[in-house]
Amino acid sequence: MQDAAQYTLDDDGDQGAADGARLVLSGPLTLARIAPLERALKKLTGTIHTVDLSAVDEIDTVGAWVVCRTAREHDADITGASEAAQRLLHSVQGIGAGGDLRPPRAPVWERVPLAVGDKVYAGRSGIYGVVAFFGQILIAWVSLARRPSRFPFKALVHQMELVGVTALPIIGLMSFLIGIVIAQQGSVQLEQFGAESLTVNLVGRITLRELGVLMTAIMVAGRSGSAFAAQLGTMKLTEEIDAMRTIGISPVEVLVIPRILAATFMMVLLGFYASAAAIIGGAVVGEVTLGIPFWTFLSRIQEVVPEHDLWVGLIKAPVFGLIVALAGCYHGLQVRGDSEEVGRRTTMAVVSAIFAVIVLDAFFAVFFTEIGWG
């Protein structure tokens, strides 16, 4: 047995060159061995009247395909095929060679307007989708208000635990570190005016008004908003949500409402908790590097931070929680088709939630300053 498939051209002298040559293939015509032979065969020019397979000792469908194609290109007959080879040749015979494996791609001048048009339509259906989603939530609220016994308390408590309680360690640690950074960096700058003691004002006001709530919202978007989208998206794919509908359970009532309530309520507690953790972080820096005793730092906070700073944070927190939960649930319920869509929608949920939170935070900042809570 030969190691590679080979060919020889036999000129059949007595028949004359006009008829062309006889192509004799030998060796194994299998996928593993055929690559060099196939390349050589493609370069063959001149007429060939027969392809002789009698010296072939092994053949598979790839070999049969190459033989068929060569015979077709040269308009040659195939002889000497064993019974098995004949069956293989027969099975691949009628199949055309042309065509690409990818769907045809339109030229650029068609593709760009098409893509723009698609985006416009997607934007429109996005707006419809959001309005419809708000409508569904409203309907669910009304029907729950009519029959409070149907309210999904268990799911609510479960979601509160997932969104709030299990987030405590990571949010506490994050906020504590942020407090340390603000106090440490702030004191370096304030020192230049000889005003290190104002570090207390800096830490207290910025964490209660802005950073405590904002960072918590970003963390909740990453932890829970993404989880909402992925859970609901997977439930959509596995037809769980359709199953609920057919039994007469409203998926918005049992899935969306508890998540929205849990995120809204827990954001208030988490936001406050984060601010407290950040202040403690600041107090630790005060004790260690600024010479302000820990407890003095904390009691100074009470004196220098106006009460409305706390309210600013506590008013923003539920709004941010609501946005994060709405984005997560909305994108989760928009999943259709395949598992790739779950990933895409989860990303969109987190990105749109964080973006909306930051935009809204800017509006809040202006608003609260305007009403004199500066």
């Binding site: 690559a35 000792d57 469908t61 395909w65 098995a84 055309g96 060679a97 045809p104 790739e340």
Partner: protein
């Protein structure tokens, strides 16, 4: 069909000896033995949760058994590092239950994947041609080659999955419930396709199924998994003759009898057709 000149080729392609699979306290297989003969279609049946899929996963090296020895095409799967190239992957093809097509690639590109992986020296044009004729060989239309899996129906996905399993002209084909979820017409066509491919390409087929029609129509032998081992292997009449209660209720239940009856009818019809062609020829 390959003309075989390799000495090892006379050996059975799959030999399982004393296979034990245990997940925690739960034992799936306990001393399971099975030999698959070259060139046969072996049907594997068993109740739900009896470990049919686990057996297949053990044989193709997706799962390391707790104990036992599995030889596939002359390689001892239980002794090789499964993350490495194990030398036999290019000689088998696997069709998973849902087709398991790569969703970001078209059907044609799916078939190209194993060709690219194992035979990078192939001319890209030839590789595309191979991918294309494989798809058409499994009975899909020309236009399906450039479609994405999400655009295909369940039956078409299975055919596309089969095309990918056949991409390398394997000697050994694993089919996991190929007709589950297909309508009876589609299932019958798939059975016929399996039989045809086996005869043309000389395949050995390891076929897990719940479909009694498939068992009657195309399987040369049937292996029954129950009580954590293979309790019997043989043709269906041989199995029924064992008088094992599970086998009896499996083949002599209402569905088993119906499948048997339709098989008998087809046999007569098939003989008629063969006779007809002889006369015509």
């Amino acid at each position: 069909m390959r003309v075989n000149n390799h000495p090892e080729d006379d050996a059975p392609p799959i030999v399982v000896e004393g296979l034990v699979n245990r997940f925690g306290d739960f034992t799936v297989h306990e001393g399971l033995d099975l030999t698959v003969r070259r060139g046969e279609i072996l049907g594997v049946v068993g109740g739900s949760g009896s470990g049919k899929s686990v057996l297949m996963r053990s044989i193709i090296g997706l799962q390391r058994p707790t104990a036992g020895r599995i030889d596939v095409l002359g390689r001892t799967i239980t002794e090789v590092d499964l993350d490495q190239g194990i030398g036999v992957r290019r000689r088998w093809g696997v069709l998973f239950q849902g087709g398991a097509l790569f969703s970001t690639l078209t059907v044609g590109e799916n078939v190209e994947v194993p060709l690219k992986k194992f035979y990078p020296e192939l001319d890209p044009k030839l590789r595309r041609e191979i991918a294309r004729y494989k798809v058409i060989l499994t009975g899909l239309a020309d236009s399906a080659v450039a479609k994405y899996p999400s655009e295909l129906s369940g039956g078409m996905k299975k055919r596309a999955g089969l095309a990918r399993a056949l991409a390398l002209d394997p000697e050994l084909l694993f089919l996991d419930e190929p007709t589950a979820g297909l309508d009876p017409i589609g299932a019958a066509k798939f059975d016929r396709l399996t039989r045809e491919l086996k005869e043309t390409l000389g395949l050995t087929v390891f076929l897990i199924t719940h479909d009694l029609d498939t068992l009657y129509e195309i399987c040369d032998r049937v292996a029954v998994i129950a009580d954590k081992k293979i309790i019997a292997v043989g043709t269906i009449p041989e199995l029924i003759a064992t008088k094992h209660p599970w086998i009896e209720s499996y083949f002599n239940g209402p569905r088993g009898r119906a499948a048997h009856a339709s098989h008998d009818r087809n046999q007569i019809g098939g003989d008629q057709a063969a006779w007809q062609t002889e006369v015509d020829g």
